[in-house]
């Protein structure tokens, strides 16, 4: 494997829900502390090599979007480090987050809210590059045209407003905006989740084409295993803020090791499987306010033993696992 482009080292993000004014006064006077901490992302270690696409998969609320925002510098990690070729992507400046680099760009899930409704496409795409002097003000218009053509839109549409485009076209604009910043790393947060299925395929193909042309490095976040299988070289499965399995795409889908990964793969409805033949992952995802002790998956796991509710498994390679996995089944039994 080549040198790591992105290195995430023990990164964690905790959100503290602010207490009400009354509770704060009570706390100051000696009452109980009523602030609650959400452990959105806990101790994630992951590297992305140059030219590689890593998929992040998990149920809603598992912290994959939070991790994506940390990588793109919108959130600074509460602990640990996220660095792009050695440079941290964000730091805390007082209470504010300061994004340090233009080299990581993000594509949001919902193209209906990620584009400024009062700004024309040309300005939306050129604003960042002109501000950071990646293109001159005089060359901005040509640059916008190039970018739009590159994502499969007509260059003449650059004077339109976002509301004049369909969802798929808007997502292409969002991709053009990210590409215009000449990023070294692209974070795509569920980029096709809010699109029609037929449009999803078009946008995914666009992504694959761009990847081939530009040698993109990317983190691709999705809850859709089929989509991730299609675009990623490696896949990280997340559960309740932690990576529970990390492996190359093909072996992972062939022989998933972690019970959660297996459950996820089994729960995908398949054509030809007949009616009522798919099994859902049992139970609800636990609250990240109060994660269960030991392995976070043990309340829902069919293989859970006494060890699982006490000792937290660590991510490591076991016998015959496709990659690394955090499960006691591969580490001396439950």
């Amino acid at each position: 494997m080549t040198k790591a482009m992105l290195s995430i080292d023990n990164a964690a993000k905790r959100f503290v829900t602010p207490a009400s004014m009354g509770d704060r006064i009570a706390h100051a006077l000696g009452g109980p502390d009523r602030t609650q901490t959400v452990h959105a992302v806990t101790d994630v270690t992951l590297t992305v090599a140059k030219g590689e696409v890593v998929g992040l998969v998990g149920e809603s609320g598992c912290g994959k979007s939070t991790l994506g925002r940390m990588i793109s510098g919108i959130y600074a990690p509460s602990s640990g480090a996220i660095a792009l070729e050695g440079t941290p992507v964000a730091k805390m400046a007082g209470k504010r987050i300061q994004k340090l680099t233009t080299r990581v760009q993000m594509v949001h899930q919902d193209p209906f809210s990620s584009l400024d409704p009062r700004m024309r496409v040309a300005n939306t795409v050129s604003e960042g590059p002109v501000h950071h002097q990646l293109v001159s003000a005089a060359g901005a218009d040509d640059n916008v045209a190039d970018m739009l053509v590159r994502v499969g839109l007509d260059a003449s549409t650059r004077r339109r407003f976002p509301h004049q485009f369909s969802g798929g076209q808007r997502q292409r604009i969002a991709i053009a905006r990210a590409l215009a910043m000449q990023p070294d790393l692209l974070v795509l947060d569920e980029p096709v989740a809010s699109l029609d299925v037929s449009i999803q395929a078009q946008v995914l193909n666009l992504f694959l084409d761009l990847r081939q042309q530009l040698g993109l490095t990317a983190v691709f976040i999705s809850h859709d295993l089929g989509v991730v299988r299609h675009v990623s070289d490696r896949v990280a499965i997340m559960y309740l803020g932690r990576v529970v399995e990390l492996a190359d795409t093909v072996p992972l889908f062939d022989r998933p090791a972690h019970p959660y990964t297996r459950a996820l793969l089994d729960s995908v409805p398949k054509l030809g499987a007949g009616r009522g033949a798919f099994s859902a992952v049992a139970g609800e995802i636990p609250s990240p306010l109060n994660p269960p002790p030991g392995c976070a998956f043990h309340p829902r796991c069919p293989f859970a033993g006494p060890r699982c509710s006490v000792e937290r498994p660590i991510l490591k390679a076991g016998d015959n696992t496709p990659g690394t996995v955090a499960c006691h089944l591969y580490d001396g039994g439950t």
Binding site: R69, S72, G73, I74, K95, I97, Q98, K99, T102, V104, Q105, M106, H108, Q109, D110, S113, S114, L115, D116, P117, R118, M119, R120, A122, N123, E127, G128, H131, H132, A137, A138, A140, D141, R159, A174, R177, M181
Partner: protein, 301 residues
């Protein structure tokens, strides 16, 4: 650079066109708009269209005092709306009074808009403690009657145009702050702001280029209503004798000026300035209502 300018010109042209078509759907609002244009015309050209300069004390004749409407005075022309106790031609005094009232209303409205907009926007963007402190001050102020605040301030600051405008701005900025704060807090959480942060763009560009334009529409409505309300406030203060000196009377001062004669049959001294004031305020409010109606996003559905 020309592209950016073209785009902006085009944007405003098409949007204004749509806006105008929808605005003109209400005939009442159209009439009100015509009235406002006429009032502004009168206010701007008062020195040229008034029969008399009511500020020039040398031209006032006490023999002409309290003449009923339609009387020919010593100046040899008809006092269409009569004269007041100082012998001022009321029509001229109303023209000049409109000029002062509109000037004060617009200046107070504009300054309150800029001030309220700035602090409301910053509060929404910053969040946390800054937002809490600013918005609690605004809430505190909104819980007091604006007239009370303006009264105390004019009493403290003294008479004069700038003192009056300052008092009105302080009494009114809170409405603008709260309105834009509400709109901007909703916009703040949308992904396009996050996308701008992730680019990254500096805070002032995000504020001015993204957050402000998207939070502006509700403010336009508040602005029209607040101009009307500033005019009314100013009239109230002048009526109570706290506004401008009587030698340069605004509409409120004119009403106060004739108040003592109201029951002795010389109604015109108070009533005609009052009518002018009511027409002005009602017209502005009617136009403001229609603007609100056109800008209401739920309207098209």
């Amino acid at each position: 650079m020309s592209l950016v300018e073209d785009i902006q010109v085009e944007t405003w042209r098409t949007r204004l066109g749509d806006f105008w078509r929808e605005f003109a759907e209400s005939k009442v609002a159209l009439v009100a708009l015509v009235v406002i244009v006429a009032i502004v015309f009168i206010a701007v050209f008062a020195p040229w269209i008034s029969p008399q300069n009511p500020y020039d004390l040398a031209r006032l004749d006490l023999f002409d005092s309290r003449l009923p409407p339609g009387t020919v005075g010593s100046g040899g022309y008809v006092h269409i709306l009569g004269t007041d106790a100082a012998g001022r031609d009321l029509l001229s005094a109303i023209f000049y009074g409109l000029r002062i009232s509109l000037l004060i209303g617009l200046m107070a409205g504009a300054f309150a808009l800029v001030l309220g907009m700035s602090i409301g926007l910053v509060a929404a963007y910053k969040g946390g403690r800054v937002e809490a402190i600013i918005m609690r001050i605004v809430d505190l102020q909104l819980s007091m009657p604006a007239i009370l605040l303006a009264l105390v301030l004019t009493a403290m600051l003294g008479q004069g145009l700038w003192q009056l405008v300052t008092a009105l701005v302080v009494a009114q900025y809170a409405y603008f702050a709260r309105t834009i704060h509400g709109a901007a807090s909703a916009e703040r959480d949308k992904d396009y702001i996050e996308a701008a942060i992730a680019t990254p763009l500096p805070a002032h560009i995000i504020l001015l280029r993204h957050l402000l334009p998207n939070s502006l529409p509700p403010l336009i409505v508040v602005a029209t209503v607040q101009v009307a309300s500033a005019i009314a406030l100013e009239a109230t203060l002048s009526f109570l004798g706290l506004g401008l000196p009587l030698t340069e009377p605004s509409l409120g001062a004119l009403i106060a000026n004739g108040f003592q004669y109201l029951l002795s049959g010389r109604f015109w001294i108070s009533v005609y300035p009052g009518v002018a004031l009511v027409i002005t305020i009602v017209s502005i409010n009617l136009v403001g209502d229609q603007v609100r109606h056109v800008l209401n996003p739920r309207r098209g559905q």
